[in-house]
């Protein structure tokens, strides 16, 4: 057992990645789902510990956007309305992602996936 105890969990890591990358809904099976729920809760807790209330609201909004299921290939998501996501907003979202990565909330791969989603 020596090397198994206290090591990062594959399932937990996978679920956390799915939450950030917005593929949690695709995770099948009760184990994956309960892990995804835990990861989501953990992500919220970590965010709460590090962010002010205003920042937290932004992060939640951002995570829920990232979690929106991808549009089907036949109907690509329309360009976001200017009022919903002006260029400055996109920039601030990217900056937030970068700071989440710096804070250790996102791994390199998660950051890349989330960034790719933001940039459409």
């Amino acid at each position: 057992m020596r090397r198994r105890v206290g090591r990062p969990s594959l399932l937990g890591t996978m679920a956390r990645t799915a939450v950030i990358a917005g593929t949690a809904q695709a995770a099948a099976g009760s184990v994956a789902q309960s892990q995804a729920a835990k990861a989501q809760a953990a992500a919220s807790e970590q965010a709460a510990a590090q962010a002010t209330q205003a920042e937290l609201a932004d992060l939640r909004n951002q995570v829920s956007q990232l979690q929106a299921p991808p549009a089907p290939p036949a109907a690509p998501a329309p360009a976001p309305a200017p009022s919903a996501a002006p260029a400055g907003d996109l920039m601030s979202q990217l900056q937030q992602l970068a700071s989440m990565k710096e804070a250790g909330l996102l791994s390199d791969a998660e950051f890349a996936a989330a960034k790719a989603r933001l940039l459409g």
Binding site: M1, R2, R4, R7, S9, L10, L11, A28, V31, S34
Partner: protein, 145 residues
Amino acid sequence: MAMPLGPIEIVVFSLPGDGLAGEVLTEVQSLVAAGTVRIVDAVLARRDADGALTLAELADEPSWDDLAGSIDHVEGLVAAEDVDLLTADLPAGRAGLVLAFENTWVRPLLAAVRGAGGAVLGEVAVADVVVQEIADTVPDEEENR
């Protein structure tokens, strides 16, 4: 570790007693010998009558140490926490054989997909009982004619 790792799949089998079923060992060994799979980690989790879970390494099981020797070792890849989750439904008096393996056909296929500018959009494994249940609801074309 000789080779870099591709995506791995984890399967947990619930087996009676100590979980060291000879016919399962034989089949796993032939899959490894044929190069169909590469076992990257394996662990046994035994649930006693009181519900307590004990982990055992294959290398410590004389009848299975041959297999342990052929594991392309990343021993400890499957964390104890993973084993707890994976064997949550394991009944008392049974053993969960946790096998983490790489399907050797995946990596070249993945390389081809990525080379073609593609990506993995999703993957899901469907249990055989579910496949059968749904397959049974598919109307038989012969009958409809």
